[in-house]
Amino acid sequence: MTLNIVGGFGDFALFAGKSLRCVTESKRLPPRIIRAFYEQGTVCLPVILIVGLFTGLVLGLQGYHVLSRFGSQGLLGALVSLSLIREMAPVLAALMLIGQAGSALAAELGMQRNTEQIVALETMGVSSHAYLVSPRLIVSLLSFPAQTALFVVVGLWGGALSGSMLLGVDSGVYWSSVEQAVEFRDLRECFAKAALFGLLSITICAWQGFHADRCRSATGARGVSAATTRGVVIASITVLVADYVITSFFI
């Protein structure tokens, strides 16, 4: 058991290292970068907008009722913005992106492994890591922070909607509270988390899909399904653990 876990860490580190190192080996990278942006950006946009909006709405609603107990409704903007920027946006956006882009990536690579497309690349002298994985990893460093930023903006508007329009907090007070509360270091923490979560989760999902054939208990279509599930579960847990570790450094 322990050996398996240590072996898994080692295998993951080698996979990630090889995929990042061989970025320069791949020719004609831009079309695959654009495709990766589409997969991790455009395709995931609706879910980020919906989850961001409702997170903001709920934060506004809960925050208002908690703060009103202490007569501090004026701090609603600070509560919503700091909650979103420091914790909720990077984590929830990463979990949503794992569910959408990460699972799709694991399934796609798993199918390509099953139908020998990955081996075919290797026999052509094309690095499968450079061709299939590297562009996705590069894009994750940009797409996750971008999606997180969007999540924050939509969430703040959600908070404003429930706090100001529905519960009566003055709109000027809300936005002024946001402006006063948010500091540069909060944004730095937010984007550092988003970039790291992006890199970790896309690498984990790619790693699981890429080696979908290694699972001895499930082969074929079940192997792909098992690899996809493992990818999503491991990536989600890793994001939560990494969130705690990073937060403890920043606080």
Partner: protein
């Protein structure tokens, strides 16, 4: 037909491979003459595909030496070998999210410095040579089995390889299509002058199309020679593999005769 003074483009010595302690290849020695269509025959499960995948470095052999064009295929030699060799998979291994043209263009895009126009022209030329010019924008899933095979061959030859490895190219096809695939391999092997190494269990087609054949049995090459020598060989393994249809007919005849005798006894 091959020349008398044979130059082996591919030489294999003592190739061994086992899985979980079970030996699949028990020391293969083989020489493939340059410019020939060489077929390795053998029943299913004897390690033909494993042999081919060891040659293509998809699987790592446990022991043995592989030389290509006189150079040992070690870690350094592999890089050059991959540029001069193509592999045609049993499943075709086409990229299902790319069109036919993109499939053929991929090896050129990733392994050469040609510009886009040159890549497109070469890819279209390869597709034209395999009569696929009307299907350039089709995805593999929209093509028939035979067309997919031709598309896979177009992708394999677009880089002008010197050696093409064919893994069970006729698996699962009816006799007519088997003939067509072997005819296609023989035709393009001669047209493009590459060396073709085919593994299959289809004896009649292989004997007609090949320059040389070898028989793989229990992880070893137990026969190597011309198709004529294979047809007249008295080797017991060759005999049992080659004349399996006759053996089946004899066996069925005996069963029918036995059934006839039983029915006769019952009716009395």
């Amino acid at each position: 037909m091959i020349a008398h003074e044979e130059k082996f483009i591919l030489q294999v010595e003592g190739l061994k491979k086992s899985f979980d302690g079970r030996s699949v290849l028990g020391g293969i020695d083989l020489g493939v003459p340059a410019g020939s269509l060489f077929t390795v025959l053998g029943p299913s499960g004897t390690g033909k595909s494993v042999f081919l995948k060891c040659l293509a470095n998809v699987l790592q052999p446990d022991a043995g030496r592989i030389s290509f064009d006189g150079k040992l295929l070690d870690a350094e030699g592999r890089a050059g070998f991959r540029k001069r060799c193509s592999f045609l998979f049993q499943s075709n291994a086409l990229f299902d999210s790319l069109t036919a043209l993109e499939n053929v263009a991929l090896p050129l895009e990733q392994t050469t410095d040609f510009n886009n126009k040159e890549i497109r022209n070469r890819s279209l030329e390869a597709l034209q040579q395999l009569d696929m010019e009307d299907f350039t924008q089709h995805y593999p899933g929209q093509l028939s089995g035979g067309m997919q095979k031709r598309l896979a061959l177009a992708r394999a030859i677009v880089t002008h390889p010197e050696l093409v490895l064919f893994d069970e190219p006729t698996a699962g096809l009816d006799p007519l299509r088997r003939n067509a695939v072997f005819a296609m391999i023989a035709k393009y092997q001669r047209r493009f002058n590459f060396t073709a190494l085919v593994v299959t269990h289809d004896v009649p087609e292989a004997l007609v199309a090949s320059d040389r054949v070898a028989l793989l049995s229990e992880g070893r090459i137990c026969f190597e020679g011309s198709p004529a020598q294979f047809s007249s060989s008295t080797n017991s393994i060759v005999h049992s593999f080659r004349d399996s249809a006759e053996a089946l007919a004899a066996s069925l005849s005996a069963i029918r005769q036995e059934d006839g005798n039983k029915n006769g006894n019952n009716s009395r």
